[in-house]
């Protein structure tokens, strides 16, 4: 059980968000998500410049077991994608909060942080699921 980074926000879809200094938001899937999926074999990334909307399709992570949609947790435009991840999907298994980041999005409006989960709230969610 790895510890949840304290500087991130989380969603109930098992994604994490990090606010960068320039206001952009980096997004990935949590350790819980990668463990549930197993060894990842393919990642489908969006194009840079693509608009995303909250709750809409943004990326797909695929393991031997299943394909899992990664939804956009905010409205905005994709400004960076992790090409290294596309070549080596297992980065998301090995380092889900670091090297395994998926996309960076420039938000198109203020982010409603109250709609996201703090590390404690996400941990509570995990504890409930495992019960």
């Amino acid at each position: 059980m790895s510890e949840l980074p304290g500087d991130l926000l989380y969603t109930s879809d098992h994604e994490w968000l990090r606010r960068e200094d320039d206001g952009n938001v980096t997004i990935g899937v949590t350790d819980h998500a990668q463990a549930a999926l197993g060894d990842l074999v393919y990642i489908e990334l969006p194009e840079v410049g693509q608009d995303v909307e909250i709750g809409g399709d943004m990326a797909v992570v695929e393991s031997v077991k299943a394909a899992s949609d990664v939804y956009a947790p905010i409205d905005g435009t994709v400004v960076a994608i992790n090409e290294g991840l596309a070549d080596d999907p297992e980065r998301a298994n090995a380092d889900p909060y670091g090297d395994g980041w998926i996309v960076t999005v420039q938000p198109s409006s203020d982010i409603d942080e109250s709609a996201m989960l703090t590390p404690d709230a996400y941990q509570d969610l995990l504890d409930e699921e495992e019960a």
């Binding site: 197993g38 060894d39 074999v41 393919y42 489908e44 695929e62 031997v64 394909a67 297992e90």
Partner: protein
């Protein structure tokens, strides 16, 4: 909470992620199914297969019984310990199960059948055994371990009693023998060399520990599935079931038509099906990125639709592969509907991988 084998605690200790499999609590993997897969292809891996059903058939007419019950012919088994892969058919020619049968002596044959079909298979065998005065004993107290890979037999040999070690190493493929309280067969479900070892449930943990100490990797159900798929070995319940004949599941080679007067269960309907054009059962290689999965629709331009029966990712090849049942015809390409997109596949001659080598053109 399902049934547990005598190795359950060992699995948990080794860090297994346990899942339900046909009513059994078994290891899905121990951290990385990919690493386990590669361990089997390059060195050796060990699988707990104690959930499988071992049945001993004894009596004065076992051979005659089995020549009637099974689609392959146990008449081919004349050396003690020799084994045969066969289907057991229902009266319509549909597959009740696929299994391995071992000839031990004229009064004793041993069968190993799938866990998921246990009840159906036992009931069917018992029903037919009556007329031949054959006793049917399920050996539920026995454990079974599969050690597979190029180094498997070498690393498993020290677990065999010393006086039987060399005879065990001398076993030819698809042959078996007893070694005191152990039963060893040179068979497997991975496409690599190796043994399947039967022993008492109480003996299994010590054998398991010794194998792990010798560097054999513990392997779970996930790796078992990617290995058998690469080897194009059928999985009952996915590639065939009682509504499917062996002719449409790539198993025509397991039917012994000769001698033509051997009346086996399902022969009549099977002869009729043989005369007409069966669907093709083929291997597919995905040419794009993505993963082929069971039940996905296969589209053959100008011919019709088929279905993937087993699909997944091949760690050895690094691409997705599948087995599929397709309409009859002479074609070598198709498309698969993968989550709404039509992706190109090439029909390939299986197996995809055998003895550590990729056998198809990639």
């Amino acid at each position: 909470m399902g049934s547990k084998t005598s190795l359950y605690d060992r699995h948990v200790e080794a860090g297994a992620r346990i899942v339900d499999f046909g009513g059994w609590d078994l290891p899905l993997h121990y951290g990385s199914q990919k690493e386990e897969h590669h361990a089997v292809r390059s060195k050796a891996g060990v699988f707990d297969i104690s959930h499988m059903t071992i049945v001993d058939l004894k009596g004065g007419h076992v051979r005659d019984f089995l020549r009637h019950l099974l689609a392959n012919d146990v008449g081919k088994l004349q050396d003690s310990g020799k084994a045969l892969y066969t289907c057991m058919l229902n009266e319509d020619g549909g597959v009740i199960d696929d299994l391995i049968i071992y000839f031990m002596d004229e009064s004793w044959f041993r069968l190993v059948v799938n866990a998921a079909t246990r009840d159906r298979v036992l009931a069917w065998i018992r029903q037919h055994a009556d007329a031949y005065d054959v006793t049917v004993s399920e050996r539920a107290e026995l454990a079974m371990i599969a050690v597979q890979g190029p180094k498997a037999r070498e690393l498993a040999a020290p677990s065999v009693d010393v006086e039987w070690r060399q005879p065990a190493l001398d076993l030819r493929p698809f042959h078996s023998m007893e070694a005191n309280d152990m039963f060893i067969s040179r068979t497997g479900y991975t496409g690599e060399d190796g043994w399947e070892m039967v022993m008492s449930a109480a003996q299994a943990p010590a054998v398991w520990n010794r194998l792990l100490a010798a560097g054999v990797a513990p392997c779970g159900l996930a790796a078992r599935d990617t290995l058998r798929l690469e080897a194009a070995m059928n999985l009952y319940g996915s590639d065939m079931d009682e509504t499917i004949s062996p002719l449409e599941a790539g198993l025509d080679w397991t039917i012994a038509w000769d001698p033509d007067d051997r009346d086996f269960v399902g022969r009549g309907p099977l002869e009729k099906m043989r005369a007409s054009s069966a669907r093709r059962f083929v291997g597919l290689l995905l040419e794009d990125k993505g993963v082929l999965r069971k039940h996905q629709r296969v589209v053959v331009d100008g011919v019709g639709d088929g279905e993937i029966t087993s699909g997944g990712f091949s760690p050895t090849i690094g691409r997705s592969i599948a087995l599929a049942r397709l309409p009859a015809g002479d074609y070598d390409r198709a498309q698969v509907d993968v989550r709404g997109k039509l992706l190109s596949v090439r029909i390939v001659k299986t197996p995809f991988v055998r003895n550590g080598q990729v056998r198809i053109e990639v």
